[in-house]
Amino acid sequence: MSAEAIQARILEADLLAGAEKNRLLSILGELWKKKVVFVGGVILFSLLFVGIFAPYVSPYDPLKQELNIRISPPIWMAGAKAGHILGTDALGRDILSRLIWGARISLTVAVGATALSIGIGASLGLLAGFSGRKVDDLIMRLVDIQLAFPFILLAIALVSVMGASLQNVVIVLGITTWATPCRLVRAEVLSIKEREYIVAARASGQRTWSILLGQILPNAATPILVLATFDLGRFILSEASLSYLGLGVPPPTPSWGSMVADGQDYLSTAWWVSTIPGFIIMFACLGGNLLGDFLRDVMDPELKE
């Protein structure tokens, strides 16, 4: 089992503690919660905004090299170059502009991988839950096999074979993480497939696929939404890890992870080149986690079933 599986167990444990938590929630706590969610939402939506409108909000071309102002510090430090708010990297490229364009890559990968992972997982989960024993067993063994790989190791190996490109990173992240949504949806299907309204729908002659899509999938939508929110943050992190290792979107395309790696050589003289992009990665992932935590708490009763 992998990080997702652990996350799922924590989800369970949190849910168990949920009853107690809600009772203790003071008004202050409630406000604090909302503020936290607000922060998470603001982080994700500002990244989304910046990513979509990168050509308009980015002060410079992220690829433009100005070798005479290499490694200039951020604006609040001595020796900063006017106009370069977060300084420049080893090739004299504006760090802020690269971060803004990097948001585009990060979000594209995160959204694409989340959609792919949940798309595959949910389909297989529906199939496993609704088909007979044999299909169910087969799919669950596939889940076991997928969970038997340390996720990042499998992703590294796959990208190295398929070649590093935006498309391949999305595909690799998607096909190495479908097991968790698959188990989630399967459990949901199993818990409701004997209910009266499903039996009634069957008895009235509805086709299986229309029951699956019309009755069962909407019931599984809530936990899927929570998972998807967490996934956004996790995939931002995974993309950054891959590009840190040089296995993400190839240079010179700006990507947060590779910016950290590039800056690491200059750590002793120019800390900002490497640490600022890392901070942004943490921030983006935090946004997903905060929003996910909130959605999970709000949807407690549904999730508990």
Partner: protein, 305 residues
């Protein structure tokens, strides 16, 4: 119990066979791996020679049988780059990786668990908030960035600890702390929520009502009962820890298996990649098997599920 162990063991074997198929197919995914390994101007003789060495001139099912029979005997062929057996190269680096993983695990348990207990006991105080904030950051921050921050503070600024290589216990501290950071956050969060769940149970009220000192209530009654889920998650997260170590070894130039594999990817040394992925995944399956059996032993209800 015996039947359960046998069943889980057989499932584990099936999973490992599945893993071996994935690893095998992975390397052949893009068609002829030889074309990736050699420069574009390689002569036909060279290509033929490499194909022969790798056994790629044989039918696919024979190739797989050779791979799996070699794998169970611990033979993954020769490295293309090092001109040495892959198994030898891997085993030379196993101690370094185990040292790092062991150090990270110990640190994360002995820091994460007490922090979680403390946060639960002092819930809704500044301390609780601080620990949970730290845990949230720990789960959101990319490990390589945490490592870089540590290097910056303890290596570059304070010059307290070495930042690269392996040797003394001082060399181990920063990499182990970085590798264990995510798990630490995980254990702290889980321990806290499990502890909160346990603390409202009737037997805790009884223990308090009979006048038992709070310290004994916590250590003898509460902590013991929250250990089962925590131990399970610790077991499960060992695999995740192993995966994360691949990146940490790159950050700190730690001479372990992960660095070997990532460097092998850079030099297109596929036998090494294949060997490491197979070995780590197998290890992973056995760790999970061990955890499941231990869990079934600790919690009899599971056996009949």
């Amino acid at each position: 119990m015996q039947a359960y162990i046998i069943k889980r063991f057989l499932q584990g074997i099936i999973v490992i066979l599945g893993v071996s198929v994935v690893v095998f197919v992975l390397i052949r995914l893009t068609g002829d791996p030889v074309s990736l390994m050699l420069p574009e101007d390689a002569s036909l003789q060279d290509i033929q020679r490499i194909r022969k060495v790798l056994g790629l001139d044989e039918p696919i099912h024979i190739q797989y049988l050779k791979f799996i029979s070699g794998a169970v005997r611990g033979d993954f062929g020769m490295s293309l780059h090092h001109e040495q057996p892959v198994t030898k190269l891997i085993f030379e680096r196993v101690p370094a990786t185990l040292e790092l993983a062991g150090g990270a695990l110990l640190l994360s348990i002995f820091i994460g668990l007490p922090l979680g207990v403390l946060a639960a006991l002092k819930r809704r105080t500044a301390l609780d908030g601080l620990v949970m904030l730290g845990a949230l950051v720990g789960q959101s921050a990319p490990s390589f960035w945490i490592g870089i921050i540590f290097i910056l503070f303890f290596g570059v600024q304070l010059r307290w600890l070495p930042v690269a290589g392996r040797g003394s216990i001082q060399h181990l501290i920063l990499p182990a702390f970085t590798a264990g950071f995510f798990s630490m956050a995980l254990y702290a969060r889980l321990t806290r929520s499990t502890m909160l769940d346990v603390l409202i149970q009737d037997y805790i009220k009884t223990a308090r009502a009979k006048g038992l000192k709070e310290i004994w209530v916590v250590t003898k009654h509460a902590l013991r009962n929250c250990l089962i889920p925590v131990v399970t998650v610790i077991g499960l997260s060992i695999g995740h820890l192993l995966g994360g170590i691949f990146i940490i070894e790159m950050v700190f130039a730690w001479p372990g298996m992960g660095r070997l594999a990532v460097m092998a990817i850079y030099s297109l040394d596929y036998p090494i990649v294949q060997g490491v992925v197979f070995m780590v995944s197998t290890l992973y399956v056995f760790i999970n098997l061990g955890v499941d059996i231990l869990y079934a032993y600790l919690n009899p209800q599971i056996r009949y599920a």
